[in-house]
Symmetry: C2
Subunit: 337 residues, 2 copies
Amino acid sequence: MSDINMTLQQAYDLTFSCLRKNGCNEENAAAAASRLTQAEGDMCQAHGLFRLPWYVAGVKSGRVNGSSNPSVKKLAPAVVRVDGDNGFAPLAQKIAHDPLVDCARENGIAVLAITNMFHIAAMWPEVEALAEDGLCGIAVTASYPYVAPAGGIKALFGTNPMGFAWPRRDGAPLVFDQASSAIARGEIQIAARDGQPVPVTAGIGPDGQPTTDPNIVLQGAQLGFGGYKGASLAMMVELLAGPLIGEFLSFEAEADDAGQGGPPKGGELIIAIDLARFGNPEDIITHGEVLFQEVLKQDGVRLPGDRRFKARELTKRDGINIPKSLHDEITSLLDES
Amino acid sequence: MSDINMTLQQAYDLTFSCLRKNGCNEENAAAAASRLTQAEGDMCQAHGLFRLPWYVAGVKSGRVNGSSNPSVKKLAPAVVRVDGDNGFAPLAQKIAHDPLVDCARENGIAVLAITNMFHIAAMWPEVEALAEDGLCGIAVTASYPYVAPAGGIKALFGTNPMGFAWPRRDGAPLVFDQASSAIARGEIQIAARDGQPVPVTAGIGPDGQPTTDPNIVLQGAQLGFGGYKGASLAMMVELLAGPLIGEFLSFEAEADDAGQGGPPKGGELIIAIDLARFGNPEDIITHGEVLFQEVLKQDGVRLPGDRRFKARELTKRDGINIPKSLHDEITSLLDES
């Protein structure tokens, strides 16, 4: 299968045009296209243009509001809520950033609840943006029921990722963004598409038996990373990104979709902590660097996020590659509309 | 090896006396004895009386202040710091509870930084106490360098547990408290003591090779749960419970101990979230119950913490059992002093 090479600008333009021609207004299309392109730029294809047909399906089905107008409300001195107005996450996240930062700086810690939105993107962009403003960020979101509870065989929890970012003295922040499941949903879907096996820890079939066949895992259930501990984290994320903020649990989000095949509707919770309210932020950041130096002393050890930051440099220079089949699909979405 | 059976009250009295006779004042001895007995009551022996000789060693070495007088300070509207005055964690945690709850109720979310204390206990007691007050609690703490970074072979991170609690409509809260390492340090130490193997995922030898021999893992490094993802969590915990609150990283705590063999000095960070500032708390709790009901529909699946809550009922009735060797050791500590 051949790949199509394009610059990041071309990828953005293609994505933006596709969303514009499929029911998104300029503001929503720009925010979403920016996020999808950012993921491609970091070579995280599972969160990149691969997701675009799903976005389009969401708008076409009438479930996603392509002209969403997210609104901000303070629920308590350190609690900000952004109502996503049933749009895609990126615009709500963009609008929420400054109020969250202000609230964290004022109180030392603040929490953002984003509700009524369709979230299928990675979360490192929002926590990385917080760390670039000198804050420590922690983000969680639920999705669709993909992961079995510890000891169970039926998918109930989302892959429920947690994103974390910490400001560094020089260069990009320390960032990770990892699913509570052993591997991300998108990775299993891509393995299925490409006819590749998945690790045996990734999931089980409908009968509860281990398998390396991604298609059988997609019919069965994914497993938490490290077994029951990952499943516990997945449950924590369900509670924080669901009931706490008045949003769907993963299995409720699936029921809400009712088989239309769009992205999951739900919420996201982000905690922002202002280093400067704990002490001299320079001292705190310098102390963090002591840890990173110790990590990097060991042979062959990288910091989380390093591969993405290197990829970012590479794609700026060489552009990105997407499978021709995906390019054809996107092009047909442009023609259809 | 025969066991000694005793009631919880007897276990408390023995622990309290041992601490009182080894340099703790009444308030400090009572708080620590209460925590160690609570762990025995929940049948988590690795956090129980097994730790008492380590506590005593800490006071005897002069490092731990057995007469600590923890103080509370507000660093920002939603940030509370408690200086543990170089005592054991339980007294500082006890003193910190009410100010944290008040701060979370006022602001919707609050963070507690406990510093200058010696922490070797489990964290479920403090998060469970928050959930019993209607709050969601998340706690993290670092320890000594036991866990290798992802891809490395040298121990650098602590086992760095995360505790989580969520209030339930009836009965005990939903609580988990799990190390970032594949298994807890105490479990490896107990396996070594009892001549039992550990799972191959638990750790590596000094040469980086996998092993099931707990003694070799103790010389080498533990591994994060689920591989690199657990190691990422361990790194996050180092940053939150170390640099952010002006406390030691795990490797710095070890250096500070300088081979005296006492418990690690360091900090703990606890985030408390008041459900009532996000919406009607009854609705939020009811929604959480929907998730728990779905979990419990699956055959053989338990909620995290269930085993402990069942153990709690059992030990109330039948008392606890500790190895005779441990009982002898504690008794000798009573005699020596």
